[in-house]
Amino acid sequence: MASLPKFRHLASVGAIATVALLAFACAKKPANGGLLSADAAQRVYVAPGQYDEFYAFMSGGFNGQIGVYGLPSGRRLKTIPVFSQYPENGYGYSEETKPMLNTSYGFIPWDDTHHPALSQTNGEDDGRWLFINANNTPRIARIDLTRFETEEILEIPNAGGNHGSPFMTSNSEYVVSATRFSVPVPNADVPISDFKKRFKGQISFIRADQPGKMKVDFQMIMPGFNYDLARAGKGMSEGWFFFTMYNTEQANSLLEVNASQNDKDFVAAVNWKAIEACAKSGVTHSVPASYQHNYTDAFTRQATSETITSVPQFEAKACPGAVYFMPTPKSPHGADVDPTGEFIVAGGKLASVIPVHSFPRMIKAIAAKAFEGEIDGIPVLKYEATLAGEVKNPGLGPLHTEFDGKGYAYTSFFISSEVVKWKLGTWEVVDRVPTYYSVGHLMIPGGGTMKPNPKYLVALNKITKDRYLPTGPELAQSAQLYDISGDKMKLLLDFPTEGEPHYAQAILASKIKDRQVKFFKLAESKAPNMVRSEKETGISRDGKKVHVRMTAIRSHFNPDNIEGVQVGDTVLFHITNLEQDWDVPHGFAIMGNTNGELLIMPGETRTLSWVPRKAGVFPMYCTDFCSALHQEMQGYVRVSAPGSGVALSGSTSKGPQAAPKKAQAGPTQKQ
């Protein structure tokens, strides 16, 4: 068999040739739905020094934060910490920001962010604020978009999983919170099997247009289902709100089976203007509760956490004519209202069609009392009476729909992993593109408002598999950018995101970029422990607490030598960044601190606490590369044993220290 090796050799040559041919064939086939990759690259290329056209705000899912990206480049610009501590900038570590994460359960360092919502004026995103929900311990946060900072967090009482939140009315009057889990209201120690008897759902309307004064205006008790997503009505349906729900079976165990029994669940249509009037007319009870409202003062930059002890509440049936159920197949996720306000598109996760309800038909059906029953006093409308049409065979697992304002809707399909474009009114599918893989929400800038900006669509995917270089068991999270300006959708870009990009908002950069705060004016600061100049710095003891009022300016701290601290003291470093220029933050950290670091913006005062546990000398330094002499921006704290006689002192040398002199001029030591 001397010829076999030769034969093998030939065979492998053949195999290589075949592979090469295949590769050639693949290379010739456009890899992205018809657009040559060079064209796609040009569409997403933002030259060095140039700006992206849109800001995109993507929830970080289980990282509890928001990622800010530029579109179309997909470049990450910033992470805004919201419900999670953020070591990078000291959020949730500094004394000023810790109260932001306070809840009725105490300090919580983490949550799960899902649905960002931009504030609106006349049904259009206005770029003032961004709201986002905490899914796990129910809260809603408001982020100021002149500072890209979380300024306010309101806890939602009687909620279990704040998923249906924080969708926005056309003039930012309200954001809503619809509970995912029904829970006993008020919460109580009851058998879980009493679900149907004791567990209630609720929808809260939260006043959103008064910064620093978010509050639960009223809370409506609903049947004990799972509430999922929502959208406010707009245009012709202005004044209404639409909520999806599943588990109308009211299962409390193995929901994947037990909550998938009914052919139809519901979209709740809520006339919020009517219930607002009704709530004010006296049907609400002030029900005892305990939840936190945290907000940051603009001038002290200090967060306060206050406890609120009651919530205005009423049963949905107490406002007759304001709430209706529209039967909807099957375990619907999105309830998405088109830009005119006429159509309500429900993404039934397990449905084989996309049902679209018509607002005018709904109003007629209500007038004609086309009811098929009622649940807890809420009329259930007949499916056919509100239906405008169904998109047939659209795909598998429809979740969420947004609109381009040109008569088309775009629905994400989780199971068949695609985005499907279809026409409102004719309900015909006109285009479909694959996603890589398993898209959840999708987002068109303004695609949920009255004024979409239909240039791009972003698919927010749940699975990436082979799309990026692998990184161990946990792979990159992924978003994908599509061009939707033409008839056919075209994939332009994959880009990884931080955390799960659950849902997103995007807005023209021009609406935000010129309103940025560049630094905080020292002259306007009312921070209680701030100093206006190096002359005002000082150090003082109050029992076991040592207050150090310090300054940071390129490139030194004042004081930078601190003595007289004792083991077991709580040292509070109140550091004012004296810079008054953009992009000159200073950082602060000290060796062995079991807390975090500070990042102090120009003109801002931040406080870091430190409890030294050992005697010795502890270096401290600036952590943000601030200047050419950043590495020189450092100092020492001397820590003595409890009861030591070392006097409390803080100093910074005035000028050059001669080396031999320095040794002699050391502070007096009493040992």
């Binding site: 630094f519 300016i553 490139s555 810079e579 008054q580 220029d581 050419a628 002499l629 000028g655």
Partner: protein
């Protein structure tokens, strides 16, 4: 002095008086770290930043090279520059009112002296700031390096390109000087009329 020359001098007085509200001189500093630039405006009464915090930032940067802080309150010229300007405007109006050629010549000589002294003073001011460096506390010390901004035009000072030019009020002052020149030319022409006209 012909009527047109008297009018020109009056207009020149008006243009000069703009110096009470408009900045006279401008220094711009551009560096890789400051693509948007930092700038100072010299007005008749003060030195201010082009942007609100610019002077503060310039002083912050100057500490690296040991330069004195630019404190408008500590610059004596700024206390009496407005008086000199007021005197020049007032006497210009007087010249226009009197309409005497010789008074115009004398006044122009005065103006030239004031402008010359002003420019010299500005140069000296820049020289002192640029050379009087505190070598004890200076962080960046480059042997032989001084930091005098240019009187007019551009100059590289470490990572900064410094550019010095008249600002709006300064340009109006230049225009006023030109008008005075024209007034003198007209007065001179009328004083020694061409023979053909006299004939």
């Amino acid at each position: 002095m012909p009527k047109s020359a008297r009018l020109l001098v009056a207009v020149a007085a008006l243009l000069m008086s703009a110096g009470f509200v408009l900045p006279l001189w401008r220094v711009d500093l551009i560096a890789p770290q400051y693509p948007e630039g930092l700038g100072m405006l010299i007005t008749v009464r003060s030195v201010i930043g082009v942007k609100e915090q610019d002077l503060n930032s310039i002083n912050g940067l100057n500490h690296y090279i040991g330069m004195k802080r630019i404190e408008p309150d500590a610059i004596p010229e700024l206390r009496y520059m407005s008086m000199i300007l007021g005197a020049m405007v007032g006497t210009a109006l007087l010249v226009a009112a009197l309409g005497r050629r010789r008074v115009l010549y004398a006044w122009t000589l005065g103006l030239a002296t004031v402008l010359g002294a002003g420019l010299y003073d500005y140069w000296k001011w820049g020289y002192e700031y640029g050379h009087d460096l505190d070598t004890e506390t200076a962080i960046i010390k480059i042997p032989g390096m001084t930091y005098q901004p240019p009187l007019l035009g551009s100059k590289q000072l470490l990572n900064f390109t410094a550019t010095s030019w008249p600002a709006s009020g300064g340009w109006l002052l230049v225009l006023a000087t030109v008008l005075v020149g024209v007034a003198i030319w007209q007065s001179t022409r009328r004083a020694w009329p061409a023979p053909s006209v006299a004939a």
